[in-house]
Amino acid sequence: MADVPASEPLRRFLQVARGAGLLVSAAEGIDAARAVDLVGFDDRTALKDTLGLVLAKTLDEKTRYDEVFELYFKRGEFDGKADDPAVEPAGAPGPTVSDGMGGQSLGSLLAGGDRAALATAMEQAAQEAGIENIRFFTQKNLYARRIMERMGLRALERDIEAMRQSGAPENLGRAKFLSGKIESLRDAVRDFVERSLLLFARGETEKFREDLLKTTRLSNIERRDLDRMRVLVRQMAKKLAARYAKTRRRRLRGQLDARRTLRRNMGWGGIPFITVWKQRRIEKPRVMVLCDVSGSVAAMSQFLLMFMYALNEALADIRSFAFAGSLMEISEILEKHPIEPAIAQIMSTIGFGSSNYGNAFADFEDGWMQHVTNKTTVIILGDARGNRSDPRTDVVGRISLRAKRIIWLNPEYRSAWGTGDSDMYRYAPFCGLVTVCNTLRHLERAIEDMLEDAL
């Protein structure tokens, strides 16, 4: 290890750590280098503790880090099998630690049985073969062969062949011995490639999938991705909720509230001993969500319900409604049940029918209009396709007069609005914002806007 510059293994380790999902910034990379300079590579536990302190910043990251560290630094130890010095023929040349890539030195490396030197040679060959780029398990054999070749397998095989041809008994024995060694080397290399695949490929694919999911149309997401999706939705909702959950008066530093200062100091004849600063009150967003759960948008609304469920845990003032032919309040269901049964219950009670927007809005006006105040944001999720029923834009107009604003999220692309039975353009004038929303990204952005606006 000593002859390798300290920064090189570290640099590769950082890359591996990033691949495994640790967020390592450039600054942290520099810190890691400084820390390693201080501690050194010799004491493995100290090294592990050190890098763990610098790189892994959550409990989750710590476990991932431990895993990666063990995997990565295990690679340093060469695991040669059948390493019995008794079998070694006399007069075998001593091991050469240096850049031995030729056939002769691979032979001597194998014969010497110096695991550390062999491991170093393997590392070097792997690097030259570009092992960092391994991504799929189908590439395992390819990389294993490349590494073996770079270590000088061809030349060695030629030599062995020559020894066999010569026919001398000592040469034959040596050829047999070396062939056996090659086999165990092959196993070791295969093992090494496998570990590398784990190291380099795992994070990439994970990240790739997540990115993909965030930008796929929600209606296209397959059942098998639902679990991953659920995690993503929860993460997003949690992030948003954490940012906006707090309601608080923020003191505006340096802006004297003259009126209240005077009042506060009346007792001292108006001499301002105690100063009062201006404050700004930040209100929790009040949100009412109307979610279309009819057949046409069912896939999409599942995710919105999921999102609402997660937000519901943090934002106190959300009231949720679901509608198809008619409308019902679902806040309580979301509050009292765990997520899966809640969504199932909603969908079975009211979902999958054909939607009647006019009816739903009329229901809303009858039942809940008095709760809409000038601080309420009303979010409507739906494709605005009311199956040619009366759209009742008059009701939406009245809601928009009472509410702070209406946000309409439409899973259809803009080009489809207004075609067929779509009443989108009839509703649009009453909405503060009408936007396409059919991926998780869209959803996140829309909700973020909404929350931002509530501040």
């Binding site: 942290e28 810190d31 959550t58 409990l59 710590k62 608080r248």
Partner: protein, 317 residues
Amino acid sequence: MDDAARAGASPLASIDAVERGLGGAGYIANRQISTAVYLSHHLQKPILVEGPAGVGKTELAKSVAAWLKLPLIRMQCYEGLDESKALYEWKYGKQLLYTQILKDKINSVIGEADTLAAALDKLHAFGDVFFSHQFLEPRPLLRSLQEPGGAVLLIDEIDKSDQEFEAFLLEILSDYQVTIPEIGTVAAMVPPIVLLTSNSTRDLGDALKRRCLHLHIGFPDEKLEAKIIASRVPGIDARLLRQLVSFVQQLRGLDLKKVPSVSETIDWAKVMLLLHTSVLDVDLVRETLNVLLKFEADIEAAGKQLAGITQKARQVV
């Protein structure tokens, strides 16, 4: 500065030295903790300590201070904490008093200036007395920078503060300096050792985490916990000590709302010492269980399995 260098260099020379030093101050540290303290000093980076309540996060800061004989400056965070309470405040009262004095002396300052402009010029030449160091009331953060021999700054329960405050801390954490608009930038004479603690009630910002070493202290294993108790409750019988540590360790395995942490074990050991017990028995455990468990539901849940756990603990010799 020399003193600080001497105090800083020798006791912090190696990770082992840190471990020994903390042990001397009564803090039994595991390898990771001592590595963190060692790195923090040499890289001049704050340590962010996370972990469940009562595992000795705050205690670590106190012990570091006691060991290095540095003053401990503690800042407890809470919702609504802002820079006027954390960094500095102007002494408004004193400033007001000065205006009164100034009112009497104003003529002597202005002198025989005839015009308003001339009078104002003279006043300006007088300097900005109101916003100078004399009127500055240093709060914990500023104080920790002004300590001539260095200090240990403990920012306790950072997760309780607001996000804005967290952002405000960044300058002091990365550069050990703060900017006071009216005066300028105040840099630390000797960079303090900074420890932040968090109970993870909310996720801290990435920017903050990036600037810190991240140390997670979990519950100690049986051996370490026994060592900690032995150091904190010196008079306790060795056999009883092992038994009660085993008991608590088992208790942590149960499904409880709030599992007992090290500080509760210490309290419990003290109670045992006070009651002159030498062996755990079920009745005594039942009576003193409220020292370990802080929720009625937990006490009830554990109550059913008390006999079994006690029995198992007593087998530890």
